[in-house]
Symmetry: C2
Subunit: 432 residues, 2 copies
C-alpha cells in the first residue's frame, strides 16, 4: 500500500515532531475516566476511539467481523483477522482522518477524539505466549566476551535465531513501576549463595512484535508468508537482574532474572506504517554462513530489515529533582539485528509450534557495533567496571532505586513524516 504524504485535519498530526502523523496510526488499548478499556489509534496528540467509530458505522464498508473486533477490549481479535484485513481498516482510518474528508464525516469522527493526556494506556493484547530472541550479533558478542573472552560467539549463533520462552503474566505497559526483585545470587568469592535484593539491575532495549493471524500446531509458516503474520511493533524493556541471572541460568537459560517484569510501549506500530523504512537485512561478513534455505529468500535479504532508530534515556531521582532532562545514554538501530523479524517468526514455527494472535515476540537486546549504541548497562559499563557519568554528577554501573529508564524509537527520512513509537518507561522501586 503506497503511503501518501497527505495531511490530517487533526492539526497536531501535521507537526513535524509528532510520533503519530497520519502515516502512522498505531493501535493500542486505552481507557478514560468514564470509559472501560477499548481500542484506540494515536493521531498527533489525540487518541481516536475506534470502538465508538465502529459503533457509529464509520467502518460500515469493512468486513462485519472486523468491525466487531474493533469493539473489543484488546487487539487480539483485530490481529486474528490478519494483516490484510487490518490494512483495510488502516486505509479507512487514513480516509476519515485526511484533510480532505467530507465535513459531515469529520464532525462525526471529531467527537471520538480524546486528548492523549486524558487517557490511560493498557497492554495492547492479552498475551498468550511471549518469546524473546537474541538477534543482535553485537549484543551476543559483547555478552559472550564478558563470560568467554577467547570465544565470545557460540558456534550456533550464525545459523540459529536463538530464542527462549519468556514469562507472559508479568508483561506490563509502559509507566508501570518496576519493583527491584529479590533472588539468589552468589558472589564470586562467596562459598554459598545468599537471598536478597538484586544489586545488578539492568534494562535491555528491545523491539517487540505482535502476531497477527496465528498458525495451527504442526503447520510451520514459510519465510515468504512470515510478514503476513506480523501485525506490528512496539518497544520492549526486558528488565534483567544480572546477579540473579549469572547464578541461575545454567543449564536452562534465564528464568527469575527476567520474569519479575517486562515493559512494553502501548502503541503497536503496524508493519504497513513502516513500509517506507524497510531496508536490506543485516549484511553478513565475508565467510559468514548463508542462512539455511528455510530462513533465506531474496526478498528477505533485500527488504527484511527496518531502519528504526532507537534511544535509551536515563533519569535519576536527582536529575528529576533538579529539573534536568533525562540523559540520553545510547542510540541504536533495529537495522543492526542479525536476524529479521520474518526469520525469527519462521524459525519459531519451523518445528510446528503454533503462534496465536496477540502473542508477543521480541528481538532481544538491540546493540550496534559502537559502544554508544549498546542496549544494556551490562555492555555499556562492562559489567560495572566502567561506570557511566550522568549530568547530575552521579555515575551508574547498574540501575538504582528511583531511576527511570525511557526508550524511544522512530523512523525518519527526507520527504516522509517521522513515524514514532512513543515511549516505553519504567521507574525502579525499592525491593520490599
Amino acid at each position: 500500500m503506497a503511503v501518501t504524504v497527505d495531511k490530517s485535519w487533526v492539526e497536531s498530526a501535521n507537526d513535524s515532531a509528532t510520533d503519530f502523523p497520519l502515516q502512522n496510526l498505531p493501535f493500542g488499548v486505552f481507557s478514560a475516566s468514564e470509559l472501560k478499556p477499548r481500542i484506540g489509534v494515536a493521531i498527533g496528540d489525540r487518541v481516536l476511539d475506534i470502538r465508538a467509530c465502529a459503533e457509529q458505522g464509520l467502518f460500515r464498508a469493512l468486513d462485519p467481523l472486523l468491525q466487531q473486533a474493533c469493539t473489543a477490549a484488546t487487539l487480539n481479535g483485530l490481529m486474528s483477522h490478519g494483516r490484510r484485513a487490518a490494512a483495510t481498516l488502516r486505509a479507512r482510518l487514513i480516509e476519515i482522518l485526511r484533510i480532505d474528508v467530507a465535513p459531515e464525516i469529520r464532525s462525526k469522527v471529531e467527537r471520538n477524539l480524546r486528548s492523549a493526556g486524558e487517557t490511560t494506556m493498557h497492554l495492547p493484547t492479552a498475551i498468550g505466549d511471549y518469546t524473546d530472541f537474541y538477534a543482535s550479533i553485537y549484543h551476543a558478542t559483547n555478552v559472550g566476551r564478558l563470560f568467554r573472552p577467547d570465544n565470545p560467539l557460540l558456534p550456533n549463533y550464525k545459523h540459529v535465531p536463538i530464542g527462549y520462552h519468556g514469562r507472559a503474566s508479568s508483561i506490563v505497559v509502559s509507566g508501570t513501576e518496576i519493583k527491584r526483585p529479590c533472588g539468589q545470587t552468589k558472589a564470586a568469592d562467596a562459598e554459598s549463595p545468599a537471598f536478597g535484593p538484586s544489586r545488578l539491575l539492568d534494562y535491555e532495549l528491545e523491539v517487540g512484535f505482535f502476531v497477527a493471524e496465528g498458525n495451527r500446531r504442526g503447520e510451520p509458516v514459510s519465510l515468504s508468508e512470515a510478514e503476513s503474520h506480523i501485525f506490528g511493533l512496539c518497544l520492549l524493556n526486558d528488565w534483567s537482574a544480572r546477579d540473579i541471572q549469572a547464578w541461575e541460568y545454567q543449564p536452562l537459560g534465564p528464568f527469575l532474572a527476567k520474569s519479575f517484569a517486562t515493559s512494553v510501549s502501548p502503541w503497536v506500530v503496524t508493519l504497513d506504517a513502516l513500509e517506507p523504512f524497510r531496508t536490506h537485512a543485516f549484511e553478513r561478513a565475508p565467510g559468514d554462513p548463508q542462512p539455511l534455505p528455510y530462513l533465506n529468500s531474496e526478498s528477505n535479504q533485500k527488504r527484511g530489515g527496518i531502519d528504526l532508530k532507537l534511544e535509551v534515556l536515563l533519569s535519576s531521582r536527582r536529575i528529576r529533582e533538579a529539573g534536568q532532562a533525562p540523559a540520553r545514554i545510547s542510540r541504536g538501530n533495529a537495522r543492526d539485528l542479525y536476524w529479521t523479524l520474518a526469520q525469527m517468526l519462521t524459525h519459531h514455527t519451523s518445528n510446528g509450534c503454533n503462534l496465536q494472535p496477540g502473542d508477543l515476540l521480541a528481538s532481544g537486546t538491540v546493540s550496534g557495533a559502537a559502544k554508544e549504541s549498546v542496549g544494556s548497562l551490562l555492555e555499556m559499563t562492562q559489567r560495572g567496571a566502567e561506570p557511566i557519568p550522568l549530568p547530575s554528577g552521579e555515575t551508574r554501573k547498574f540501575l538504582e532505586d528511583g531511576d527511570e529508564v525511557i526508550f524511544r524509537a522512530y523512523c525518519e527520512r527526507e520527504g516522509h513524516p517521522r513515524i514514532g513509537f512513543g515511549e516505553c518507561r519504567g521507574v525502579i522501586q525499592p525491593a520490599s
Copy 2:
C-alpha cells in the same frame, strides 16, 4: 481434611483397581456428543457432570461464586477461588457420591453421570503460562554426565530450583497425536547444520501441577503458603527432540526442541486427595547444603514429598498389530524429586513473578537412582548407545513413528484405596 474409607454407590468406584475411587475425585473438562466442554469429576468408570449438578442446585450450600465457577468450560475459575474453596466442593461431592446418601439425592446425581467412554477430554485449564522445572537430581546428574563426565552436576543445582519458561500454546491433552518436529541439527562430524525431521525424539516423564489462587506481581508466596496455591497434579510428557536441543540450547536453554508439543493427562488430582500419601522431602546427602531460609521449613521437610508411583509404557506399531500389551519400560516415584512442589512454587514467585489461576508448573523429568527408574530414553539408552529391547523383538534408541508413549501414576498403600492419575498418552506421527 481426613479422608474416610467410605464406599460410593457408583459401583465401579469401589473396584480396587480403579484410579478413581470416592477418595480421589479429580477434576477435568469433558465434552460429549451433545455437550460442549464443561467441568467433570471422574468417579470409577463414570464422569460426573459438575455443571449439571451446579445448575440443579446440588451445590446450593456452597459459595454462590464457586457454584458459578462450576458451570464454566475450564477449571480456571474454580481454581481462582483457591484450595480451601475447592475443598468445600470436594466435601460436598463426597457427600453426594457416598453409599449412604439419601435416595432422592442419589437419583438426581445419577442422571448427571456419563460413561467415561462416551466423553472426550480437553485441557483442564486455559493455561496462561507454563513453567518447567528440573527438580530431579538424578535426571540432572544423568544428563550432565552425558555432556560433562567429570562434573555432571552444576554448582547451582543444590541451591536453586532450576526452571525455565515453556510454551503454553502447544500444550495438548492426552491422546492428541504428536507430529515429529523438524529443526536444525548438526552432527558432531558435520561442518554445518542441516534442517530436517528430528531423529532423536524422546519423551520426558514429569509431574505437572496447576496453580489455584494466584499472587500479585511483586508479592512473593512464602513456603508456608505455597501449597494453598496448588490446586492439583497431572502427568506431563515434555516431548523433546534431543538433536535439535543439543544444537540450539546454548546459551538461552531449550526452545524449539520442546515447544512443538507437551502432553498432559486430563484429570487434575487434588492435593487434598493426595494427603494420605504425603511423605518427607528428599533426604539430602551428608554435606549437601541446606536450602536457603525462604525454601526451608520443618513442615516442608516432613511432609513436602508425595509418594506417587510413576510408570512409562511404550507400544510400537508392531506391538499393537501383534495384539501385545504395551511394554513397561520404566518405573519412578515423585518422592525422588530434590525439590518439593511447594519449594518450586515459592522459588518461582520469590522475584515477585505473578502466577495466575490455571497456570501450569511441572517438575522436570522424574528419574530415580536406578537405571530402571529413569524418565527419558536419553538416560535409559545413554543417548542411544544402549538400545532397549521391546517384546516385539524390536529395539529402541529413541522414538520411532507410530510409537505410543503412555504414562501412568498412582498412590497406593495398605488400607487406603488406590488414588490414580489415569493416563497421559501420545502417538508419534511422521514429520510432514
